[in-house]
Amino acid sequence: MRWTLRLDGATLPDRAMVGGKAWSIARMLSFGLPVPPAFVVTTEACRAYQEGAMPPGLEAEIDAGLEWLEEETRRTFGRGPSPLLLSVRSGAAISMPGMMDTVLNLGVGDAVEAALAAETGLPEFARDTHHRFLDLYRTIVLKGEDAPLPESPREQLIAAVRAVFDSWNSRRARKYRQHNGIDDAIGTAVTIQAMVFGNLDDASGTGVLFSRNPSTGERVPFGEYLARAQGEDVVSGKFTPQPLSAMQAQSPTAYEDLLRASEKLETEARDIQDIEFTVQRGKLWLLQSRSAKRAPLAAVRVAIEMTDEGLIDQTEAVARVTPEQIAEVLRPRLTADATDGLTPVATGEGACPGVASGVVVASSDEAERRGEAGEDVILVRQTTSPEDVHGMIAARAIVTAQGGATSHAAVVSRSLGRPCVVGCGDGVMALAGTVVTVDGDGTVWPGALAMEVPTIDDHPLLRRLADWARAAGDARFDRQPARQAAHG
């Protein structure tokens, strides 16, 4: 085979040839972890394609790859009774923006929808899968243009592969390579993977697992599971997921396998993993594992504990915590009993977190004048416009009568790092002249409430991290974190 490669776990392929995503699949397979079967159209095919046409022989190799997937999954592509659906993903050796995103459920048409409905007993799921495919395909492959879809699933697959190759030369991808000194010739691969079904029976389901708790950083796996469901159902918020214990009760073997996989993946990656998985008829399949997003305090805790566990060293721990995360942990907050017995004078949508007290002023010029005279002012406006920016800079916090989370006031306050509550209603204008405390979670309290301002050296976790940084001559934690200047 010249243009494609099957991922069978036997050998670890060259990352430059298969791209990062396929390489991580191959690596999971090499650990003996269960991953749905996949093959890759290599970066070499992409390079050949850039000469002007699909390389000769590539389509035949894709057909052979499909046959192999059919054998591995005992399902059939483009027809029933057990249809094979595919995910198609781009992936260069270096992860890169601007590339075509993933197309899921490729392989479904009217007949396949009917077959899926019969197989699962879930006609709604089959219809939904079909719709989701059409939506994704139209947005991603056809880029929202009103063009007809290729007729057969096979032609759709070939068109998706071409779309990935074309996206290699999107404006964003080209600029990114140019700015980062990445060779235009390295090309992207395309991973073609069998989809698994979490909704076939009661021993099927889907979920996410964090190798540690992403909110607290505690070294306890944290996950959510949804029985008889497809991957997107967990993310969509349409259903309330169950705790992992539900999975343990229904599919104990898959549960044990999952916890072992989580340990292994975290140890290998030396970072908290966010693992997407599906259980199909009692068997675990891993779909994706990546470093998990985490709350600021969790970032600090994990960095320290992983150092203590010997997974990373102190330098790495320090590098893993951003100044923004520190700023977040050290943000002033109301003391625990500060609002006891009080009723808010206004409530709205929290647009930027934090707390601040001051006297309410209703004009930006006045906010600037009194702010410069050293007063703590809270700017209250009906709405804000670029004309109000000087007042917003001078104010400790910002409150508006109208507008939502994407309003000008919300955007600018986040850029400035000022607590902000938007959409409080017209009554809020009457607060002018009074002293209030704004809590960016969405509440305005009467009076100046008691606050505490944590410092690095008071904070048991941050202090250790700061000491490691200082020992290495790194003052990053001792500089006043300037959120607005760094990232606006």
């Binding site: 970032a299 004309e387 200047a485």
Partner: protein
């Protein structure tokens, strides 16, 4: 066409508490012209100067606003310009959403400040900004066809996008520079004034 004085005042109205250079960069006038006009405005009580920044006095602001209908009679009656303006308003909610997604992110169903620790997330948002810019380009062209000096906004948006795409994230929404968001909102303010409309939020 606005005369130099009105144009300088108009620029100052959009960019409050700005120096002559910042106003000139917005209006496309020379710094000398703007410096002269603003100095004259201070002398006649139409503007005040504090720490190198100028601000129009309330009366001058009202007078400026009152004359917009006259100054902008042509674009307000120009179908192509009106269409471009509506095009801008159609894209505006998407821009606001993208900027919001840049500044905040969902972590387990909860909106939090984006701490920019997830490069893949940030890259995706900048991808969306690039795509939005491509959609905005014909609109921006339409606007500067009606009022040529508006081309400055298109140039500044492109420059900000370029820097953001090049890996300097401050050019997305930092309020202290001509970031994509800063320029976009100044353009929005400019268009509201040109069309004689009120901001909704």
């Amino acid at each position: 066409m606005m005369d130099d004085r009105t144009l300088a005042f108009h620029g100052l109205a959009i960019k409050r508490h700005a120096d002559a250079a910042a106003v000139a960069a917005l209006t496309g006038q020379s710094i000398d012209t703007v410096t002269q006009e603003l100095a004259a405005a201070v002398a006649t009580g139409r503007a005040i100067e504090a720490r190198g920044g100028y601000t129009l006095t309330p009366l001058a602001r009202v007078a400026l606003q009152a004359n917009y209908a006259l100054h902008f009679a042509a674009p307000r009656a120009d179908d192509a310009f009106i269409q471009a303006y509506h095009g801008f308003e159609r894209i505006n909610p998407d821009l606001k959403q993208i900027i919001t997604d840049w500044q905040t992110m969902e972590v387990r169903g909860e909106r939090r400040t984006n701490d920019h620790s997830d490069a893949a997330y940030d890259d995706k948002v900048i991808d969306r900004l690039s795509t939005l810019h491509e959609r905005a380009e014909p609109v921006l062209t339409g606007l500067s066809r009606g009022i040529p000096r508006l081309k400055i906004y298109a140039d500044k948006l492109e420059a900000a996008l370029d820097k953001a795409e090049g890996g300097d994230p401050a050019w997305v929404s930092d309020i202290h520079r001509d970031s994509y968001h800063t320029v976009w909102f100044e353009l929005h303010e400019e268009l509201l004034r040109i069309m004689g409309r009120e901001r909704e939020e």
